[in-house]
Amino acid sequence: MGPLVVNEIISAETNLLFAFIIGIAFGFVLESNGFSSSRRLAGMFYGYDTTVLKVFFTAAITGMLGLLFLSLFGWLDLGLIYINPTFLWSAIGGGVIMGAGFILGGYCPGTSFCAAAIGKLDALAFIGGIFIGIFIFAEGYPLWEGFYKAKDLGSPVLNDLIGTSRGVMTLMIIVVALVMFWVGEWSEKKFARDDYKINQH
C-alpha cells in the first residue's frame, strides 16, 4: 500500500497537502517538548537538561520499529522508501560544522523555525544565519564540490555493515538507547542548576 505517493494512491498535489499537515504535527510536537528553547537544547551538552537525547532517540527507535511493523503488516514496502546516501567525508565534515553551529547558536534548523514561531528573536537571527550559510555553500560550490562528492559509499544500512538482520539491529539500538536514557536521567540530577527549571520555562 505505502508509500502512498510512490504507489500513486494519492496525487503529487495531495502529497504536498499531507506535507503541510505532517509539518504541523512535527512543529507541534517539537514545541510541546520545549525544542523552541535554546537553553533547553544547549542543556544537552552541559548535562543539566537531556531532553534532546530522550526525545531524539525515542523518536528514532519509534521510527525504526514503526517502519518494521508497517512492513510486517504489508502496509509499507521498505524497498520503496528513501535511504539517505552516505558520502563519508562530507557526512563527517558536515556533521562537525553543524555541531559547532549547534553549540554556538543553540538551535538546529527545525527547532529554530519552531522557536521563531513563538517569538524567540535569537531563533530569528539563527534563521538569518542559515540562509547566509546556504548561500555561501551555493556560491562557493566549485571550491568544495570535490570534498562533497568524495568517498561515495552508495546507500549502505547499518545492519548490512554489521552483518545482521534489520530486526536484530533495531533491538541492539534500543538497548543502547535505554542505557543512554539512564545516563541522561542521572546527568540531570548531577548537573542540575539553580537558575534553570527543567520542565518549565
Partner: protein
C-alpha cells in the same frame, strides 16, 4: 496558583519522542521519505537567486545541479512541511501560553552577544547541512530510523563536536 498565569509544562520527553517517531513513520507511509528542515531553506535560496539573478542561476554549478532541474523549487515537499512546522509550533506555543518576543540566553551575557552568536551558529549550521546532505532532522533523525550509515555518522559528528566544544561556549549558556 499565583496571580501571574504561568505557561503550561512541557510534555514528557519519552511521550514526545514516541509522538515524533509516529509523525516520522506517517511521513514515510505517505511520501516514502522522512522529515527534513534545512531543505526548505535551500529551496528558498535557489528560488531567490533564480528570481533576482536568473543568468547567474543558469551558469553557476550549484543552482544548475539542484534548482533548474525542477520547474519551481518552492513547490517542494519540504517547503510545505516547514510551513506546517511554523504553524504547528505557533499553535503549541499559543495553547501553552508561551507566545512572547524574547531573546533567550544565559543571564551572564548581553542580548547583543547572544544574537551575534546565533547568527554565527546559523551560518555554520546552514553550511554544514548542505555539506552533510541534511541536518538533524533530515540526515540524523530520518537517516537513523532507516538505519542509514550516513545518518548515524552525521548524528555522531554533530553531537560529538557539540560536546567537544561545549566547554569553550559555556558562557553562552551557563
Amino acid at each position: 496558583m499565583t496571580k501571574e498565569k504561568a505557561p503550561k509544562k512541557y510534555m514528557n520527553p519519552y511521550l514526545g519522542g514516541v509522538l515524533l517517531g509516529l509523525v516520522l513513520v506517517f511521513a514515510f507511509w505517505v511520501s516514502g521519505r522522512g522529515l527534513g528542515a534545512s531543505g526548505a531553506s535551500k529551496s528558498l535560496i535557489i528560488a531567490g537567486v533564480e528570481t533576482i539573478a536568473p543568468s547567474h542561476a543558469s551558469s553557476a554549478s550549484f543552482y544548475k545541479e539542484y534548482g533548474s532541474s525542477k520547474e519551481n523549487p518552492l513547490k517542494s515537499w519540504l517547503v510545505f512541511q516547514m510551513m506546517g512546522v511554523v504553524v504547528g509550533g505557533f499553535l503549541s506555543g499559543a495553547f501553552a501560553g508561551r507566545l512572547k518576543f524574547k531573546v533567550e540566553k544565559s543571564p551572564k551575557i548581553t542580548n547583543k552577544t547572544r544574537l551575534i552568536f546565533a547568527v554565527i551558529g546559523g551560518v555554520l549550521f546552514g553550511f554544514g547541512a548542505q555539506l552533510g546532505r541534511g541536518c538533524t532532522s533530515g540526515s540524523a533523525l530520518t537517516g537513523m530510523s532507516v538505519l542509514s550509515v550516513g545518518g548515524f555518522v552525521t548524528m555522531a559528528a554533530i553531537f560529538g563536536t557539540a560536546f567537544a566544544l561545549a566547554y569553550f561556549a559555556r558562557k553562552l549558556w551557563i
